[in-house]
């Protein structure tokens, strides 16, 4: 199944509005998906007998920078039976206020492996995943303040009395 076939399959199932754009500049073409429907799209791609994207190779949280004010998530799907790869991207604008994290639907109900991936994106980039069963920090200590891989992150001076820099 080609990239265009997958696109057609998704628009037939969910309508034109589900795909908000395409990117051809990366290592492989990517589909930009409506953030609110990413979990449904993943479920369809996983269960459809023509695609069987049964493996989430990677999930990445991205801070697109202070100027653009966008946060995104990239999903790298693999179909083991058909040897296919597919990249999905979602992104949203956010005011970078740590009280209102950018929020995307969790795909843990579709891919169990997304559990820890989403926790990592939450821990380091500060992306909230609605419907995640256990969204807490995974690498940093529980009482860490801030999200270190954000572009505007400022290293604190001390952590528990130990000087950082």
């Amino acid at each position: 199944m080609s990239f265009d076939d997958i696109k057609l399959l998704l628009t037939n199932k969910f309508g034109e509005s589900v795909i908000t754009g395409e990117e051809y500049t990366g290592m492989q073409p990517a589909l930009l998906i409506d953030p609110d429907r990413i979990a449904e799209v993943c479920l369809e791609l996983r269960d459809n007998p023509k695609t069987y994207f049964d493996f989430l190779s990677c999930l990445t949280g991205i801070d697109y920078g202070i100027d653009s004010g966008r946060f995104g998530v990239v999903y790298n799907l693999s179909s083991i039976p058909y040897h296919l790869q597919l990249t999905l991207k979602v992104s949203k604008e956010n005011n970078r206020n740590e009280e209102e994290l950018p929020s995307f639907p969790s795909v843990t109900s579709v891919y169990r492996t997304a559990d820890w991936h989403e926790r990592e994106a939450f821990d380091l980039v500060g992306i909230f995943f609605e419907g995640h069963p256990d969204l807490r920090r995974i690498l940093l200590p529980d009482d860490w303040e801030g999200y270190p891989l954000r572009k505007d992150y400022k290293t604190a001076e001390y952590y528990k009395g130990i000087k950082i820099d």
């Binding site: 270190p148 992150y153 604190a156 528990k160 000087k163």
Partner: protein, 159 residues
């Protein structure tokens, strides 16, 4: 040993109590079996057959309460720093610290942009011997043990 052997020629050794205790202590430096990152691989290499640190009486112990020395072999993150401090506090006196490798000496490759790395384990616990290298070779760690033995030899525990 049979009683005959111990009484052989009836020799007597005269020494100072302090020297005897120091000799005993430096000849059985038991490290905590504790490694954090890639330096721990070199530490393991130093402990097993090729380099065999056991010939210096260095024999890793699984409990902090049985350990004389803790070898900080690897990157000390802030999350791990608390654990290291706790392990160090659980060790009985007299206790020693060997900081193995650039990360635990000064932060190593994480000295800049390393928001999560303690820039030197000496910000958490006192260090007796630093071993440079990234990672140091087993010979370097053996060198550190020998340095520590020299330090212990000079100590005055009593009197």
């Amino acid at each position: 040993m049979t009683p005959d052997l111990t009484n052989e020629s009836g020799g007597v050794v005269v020494t100072k109590m302090n020297d005897l205790m120091n000799w005993a202590r430096l000849s059985s430096l038991w490290p905590l079996s504790f490694g954090i990152a890639c330096c721990a691989i070199e530490m393991m290499g130093a402990l097993v057959s090729t380099y065999d640190l056991d010939r210096f009486g260095v024999f890793p112990r699984p409990s902090a309460r049985q350990a004389d020395v803790i070898i900080i072999a690897g990157t000390v993150t802030f999350k791990m720093a608390e654990r290291i401090k706790r392990l160090y506090e659980q060790m009985p006196e007299p206790k020693y610290v060997i900081s193995m490798g650039s990360c635990s000496n000064c932060g190593g490759p994480y000295w800049q942009h390393g928001y999560h790395v303690v820039k030197g384990v000496d910000r958490v616990i006192p260090v007796d011997v630093y071993v440079q290298g990234c990672p140091p070779r087993p010979e370097a760690l053996i060198g550190a043990i020998l340095e520590l033995q020299k330090k212990i030899e000079q100590e005055q525990l009593i009197g």
